[in-house]
């Protein structure tokens, strides 16, 4: 095999493996037909995902020496891809107990999960707008179907709502891509950005195209005022899927958007992002305050985190955003996993149902406290480090007022995060009919909690990777 072909395969191997995994899980399901064999399917999917992570290491040969693919390969991107794969792995592990329910079709579930993962991976590493768009569609289609996979009314409603609004956003993006291509004459991020820097100000068509692209992306990552679908969809979808949506889909959307927009230093765009970021941080946190259902509360919280993340677009470095994505996705995934483990009906968990949880499930309560403190940004948990790096970089770039708004909204957010902790630790009650917690679920939660606890202390090696 010559060098070019070797590079080609080493870069593509993780994607190929995930795609193969998706296909194999669908086919094995058809072949076995027997519902008791869902385990075989899940093990198969796991093996493919784990080997995809292993093959990510083979990328090191390809850094700086890429074949002519429209995909990026760098240490930072491999770390983000590894995070996506790890989250997918834990989605499979933690949901293994729920799959037994007859209404859930395991084969489709694993197939859709893996194809969503594949879409997310392509989105993170895409180097041109069309690749990003197609992979976004792959991701979105899979997530639309995943949200409705249980077939219950709430899930079907969530799925339909998400699909209708999502396709609307896709139309915007497609139109935007057409306009951008029409005026810039290229689809690659690099060329588009060069074009913007040279004559972006004058070209109205290009600007319209970029704005339409931006709106499409803002919808996908649920930034205010394009967030209206989020609480309903997060609440209606099965919670395992919500966990995946809040973590992986957000990583993919933000990373793709970051790759597209970070290099353009068009001032109008930065003002628009600063504005959207500020209203999102402030209002999403306020809207989370009165929520009684944890899934809805976490949905608003994840909207607000998209706001913090968008702050990162004002600065000319990628690593603070990536670092924040790592800490945020681990914490939010863990929090939703706990909801999966404790909920009795699939539309979620009232906060008051958590009363006295600590006496029945001390480990889960501690883990939940770690996730929520981290999301609130309380030191010494990793969420604090994420916020610190982000705010630090924003101040360094001269954006003081969005940081002040971010600080104020972090203060507001404390109140509802603490409310959950109050319910778990400080209130009496809680009924005896607690769910039995599966070993797999506990394992997932523990891994996420340990990561959330320790990521911040070992930030230096992570920063070194994410800077490249």
């Amino acid at each position: 095999m010559n060098n070019e072909a070797f590079m080609f395969f080493s870069v593509l191997s993780p994607y190929i493996l995930v795609a193969l995994g998706a296909g194999v899980s669908l086919i094995s399901w058809l072949y076995f037909k027997d519902r008791a064999n869902y385990k075989v399917t899940s093990y198969g999917a796991l093996i493919f995902l784990i080997s995809a992570i292993a093959f990510l290491f083979s990328w090191s040969a390809a850094y700086g020496n890429l074949p002519s693919l429209s995909l990026n390969a760098s240490p930072a991107i491999s770390l983000i891809l590894a995070t996506i794969l790890i989250l997918a792995i834990f989605s499979i592990i933690s949901s293994s107990s729920r799959i037994k329910e007859p209404s859930v079709k395991a084969g489709e579930y694993y197939f859709l999960l893996l194809s969503a993962t594949l879409g997310a991976m392509f989105m993170v590493s895409a180097k041109d707008v069309l690749t990003a768009f197609i992979s976004l569609e792959l991701l979105s289609m899979s997530i639309y179907s995943l949200s409705g996979i249980t077939g219950r009314d709430a899930a079907a409603e969530a799925s339909l709502k998400y699909f209708l609004l999502g396709s609307f956003a896709s139309i915007f993006m497609a139109m935007g891509i057409a306009l951008v291509y029409g005026s810039a004459g290229s689809l690659s991020y690099e060329k588009i950005n060069q074009f913007i820097t040279i004559n972006g100000g004058a070209d109205k068509i290009l600007l319209t195209g970029i704005l339409m692209l931006l709106i499409g992306f803002l919808f996908k990552i649920a930034l205010m005022p394009f967030h209206f679908w989020t609480p309903d969809v997060y609440e209606g979808a099965p919670t395992q899927v919500t966990a995946f949506m809040a973590s992986v889909v957000k990583i993919a959307g933000i990373a793709a958007m970051l790759n597209l927009f970070i290099t353009s230093n068009d001032l109008r765009l930065t003002y628009i992002t600063a504005f959207f970021a500020s209203i999102t941080m402030l209002f999403a946190n306020m809207m989370a305050l009165p929520q009684k259902n944890i899934k809805r509360m976490l949905a608003y919280s994840s909207v607000s985190h998209a706001g913090y993340l968008i702050l990162g677009f004002l600065i000319f470095e990628r690593w603070p955003v990536f670092f924040y994505l790592l800490t945020y996705s681990m914490a939010v995934f863990g929090a939703f996993t706990i909801v999966v483990l404790l909920e009795k009906k699939e539309t979620g968990l009232e906060i008051k149902e958590l009363n006295g949880l600590f006496s029945n499930h001390p480990v889960l309560s501690f883990a939940m406290a770690i996730f929520l403190f981290s999301l609130a940004g309380v030191p010494p948990l990793s969420g604090f480090f994420g916020k610190f790096y982000l705010f630090y970089a924003a101040i360094k770039a001269g954006w003081i007022w969005p940081v002040i708004i971010a600080v104020i909204s972090s203060g507001i957010s404390l109140y509802y995060y603490l409310g959950v902790i109050v319910a778990m630790f400080m209130k009496e009650g809680g009924d005896e009919t607690q769910n039995k917690i599966s070993v797999n679920g506990n394992f997932t939660v523990l891994v996420m909690a340990a990561t959330t606890l320790l990521l911040g202390f070992f930030s230096q090696p992570l920063i070194d990777i994410l800077k490249h």
């Binding site: 600590f358 001390p362 403190f373 309380v378 030191p379 010494p380 604090f384 610190f388 790096y389 705010f391 630090y392 101040i395 360094k396 940081v403 002040i404 600080v407 972090s410 203060g411 404390l414 109140y415 603490l418 109050v422 630790f425 400080m426 209130k427 930030s459 230096q460 920063i463 070194d464 800077k467």
Partner: protein, 502 residues
């Protein structure tokens, strides 16, 4: 100095943290084992602290026992810890108060014991870490990390309105600290712009010079973050709530050590980093501090709840300490440092005594007591002794500190000092009338007739505190001597500014 290859200061800071993890791994049924393990770790920490004190050289300028490690070097964040006499004194106060408060909880805490003691140990690590850190980022981490254990201690084991109080405490402190974080980042960035070095080290922060509105913002961010902790008058409302609801041990630690973190913040961070602004705004801070003395003393006077009364008296005493610090007079500053230790000892002891009587009678209302001198003579002895120390009776510790503060601050703020003296008069009124209501006269309530006097455990933790009261009161020189070098240093930050202004 190292033990088993670790710097002794790191052992001092992180030994309680190891204790925290050990506590979490003990099964919750083994209650006695849990208590004794917690006590073991806290006493061991105290022993390490004593070793540090013994080998501490008071005549050396600057920090000792410095331990340095690279942490996040690309942002100039390092792990740097070290002690000078101020931080060592306050850390030792924490190391002393932790075993006492653990010992005081042996019977009082019934549910979730293992987590209770675990949180106390975690609190000890973060408090000692706050005093020891010489890197602003590290300091901030410890400063905020302290909130989590305190939040759980008040919220889980507190009284009826514990949830309200603990939320108030947490949000108050966190909201104020977030602005301090922003100020730290701004200072860091301006230092980087001036010198090209990224560093969060404290000594580099001392060198940074910023001007104009940014400087004002940073100064006020520090001022308010620490004012919430002290607390200075309009920001004090969390404290009575937190104290009344907190379990005894948390009250003792809160009053004994955590409040000093605010004053420590002024002395270590705000004044040396912004000497000119501190000098400019010190009179206003002092006015608020003295207003706090008078207001809190008057509030204490009318309280019916014994614990609330002590909480307000605590606000008054802290106001006095702030007055001493803000007068920039050597005598007053040394008085303020000594008074911080004194206040830790005597208010800590008062809260312990309230805890002792509360365990027996389950009420803190003054009207429920009366004449219990006859049934609990030793308890009454300790209570009266501590009250007198808190009032500032000559011969006991409180007098020395207050006297030095008044002498020193009179030179800078004569009128304010005269007003502040009224706080001492008022404290005599409310403390003595509380003593009278509790201990003298006939026994009015039947329940009070058969109260048990102090048991051995309670004797064990009251004696060291009482001994400290006498020792500092009769022969304060060794304590004051330790602070001399520090105060010379501290005065040098200010005096250069004074000369510049003239």
């Amino acid at each position: 100095m190292t033990i088993f290859g670790f710097d002794v200061i790191n052992i001092f800071i992180f030994l309680p943290l190891i204790g925290f993890f050990v506590m979490l791994s003990i099964p919750k049924e083994r209650e006695d084992f849990i208590k004794w393990t917690a006590l073991f770790f806290s006493v061991l920490t105290l022993a390490v602290g004593i070793v540090i004190c013994v080998f501490y050289e008071p005549y050396i300028n600057g920090f000792q026992y410095i331990s340095k490690m690279a942490w996040i070097p690309s942002l100039g964040i390092n792990y740097i810890v070290g002690f000078d006499s101020l931080s060592l004194a306050l850390s030792m106060l924490m190391a002393l108060i932790t075993p006492i408060s653990i010992l005081s909880s042996f019977n009082y805490i019934k549910k979730g014991q293992k987590y209770y003691y675990a949180w106390i140990l975690l609190l000890e690590t973060s408090v000692i870490g706050v005093f020891a850190s010489l890197d602003m980022f590290l300091f901030y981490i410890f400063w905020e990390a302290m909130l989590i254990p305190m939040y759980f201690l008040i919220g889980v084991w507190g009284g009826e309105r514990r949830i309200y109080s603990t939320l108030k405490f947490f949000i108050y402190t966190m909201a104020a600290s977030l602005f301090m974080l922003a100020a730290i980042v701004i200072l860091f960035i301006s230092f980087k712009q001036q010198t090209g070095i990224s560093s969060f080290a404290l000594e580099d922060f001392y060198k940074v010079s910023i001007l104009g509105k940014t400087a004002l913002f940073c100064f006020f961010a520090f001022l308010i973050a620490f004012a919430v902790k002290v607390p200075i008058l309009p920001l004090h409302t969390w404290l009575p709530d937190a104290h009344v609801e907190a379990p005894t041990a948390a009250s003792v630690i809160l009053a004994g050590v955590l409040l000093k973190m605010g004053v420590y913040g002024y002395m270590r961070f705000m004044i040396p980093i912004f000497p000119d602004l501190s000098l400019r705004f010190a009179p206003y801070v002092s006015i608020f501090a003295v207003a706090g003395v008078v207001y809190a003393s008057l509030s204490a006077w009318v309280q019916k709840d014994l614990k609330k009364m002590i909480a307000y008296s605590s606000v008054a005493h802290m106001g006095l300490i702030v007055l001493g610090v803000m007068s920039f007079d050597k005598t007053a500053v040394s008085g303020a440092i000594l008074q911080m230790v004194n206040h830790g000892v005597s208010t800590g002891a008062l809260f312990l005594l309230v805890g002792i009587i509360y365990e027996r009678r389950h009420t803190r209302l003054l009207s429920e007591y009366g004449g219990i001198f006859k049934v609990m003579p030793y308890f009454a002895f300790f209570f009266i002794l501590t009250s007198l120390s808190s009032i500032g009776l000559p011969g006991l510790n409180g007098f020395i500190g207050e006297f030095l503060i008044f002498v020193g601050s009179f030179r800078t703020y004569p009128i304010l000092t005269v007003i502040a003296v009224s706080g001492v008069v008022l404290s005599a009124i409310y403390m003595l009338s509380a003593v009278e209501k509790m201990f003298y006269g006939p026994i009015t309530k039947k329940e009070n007739e058969n109260l048990n006097d102090l048991n051995i455990r309670e004797w064990i933790y009251m004696i060291p505190l009482a001994a400290m009261m006498f020792l500092i009161g009769i022969y304060p020189q060794p304590f004051l001597k330790e602070f001399n070098k520090y105060i010379d240093n501290y005065a040098s930050y200010i005096s250069t500014e004074v000369n510049n202004e003239q």
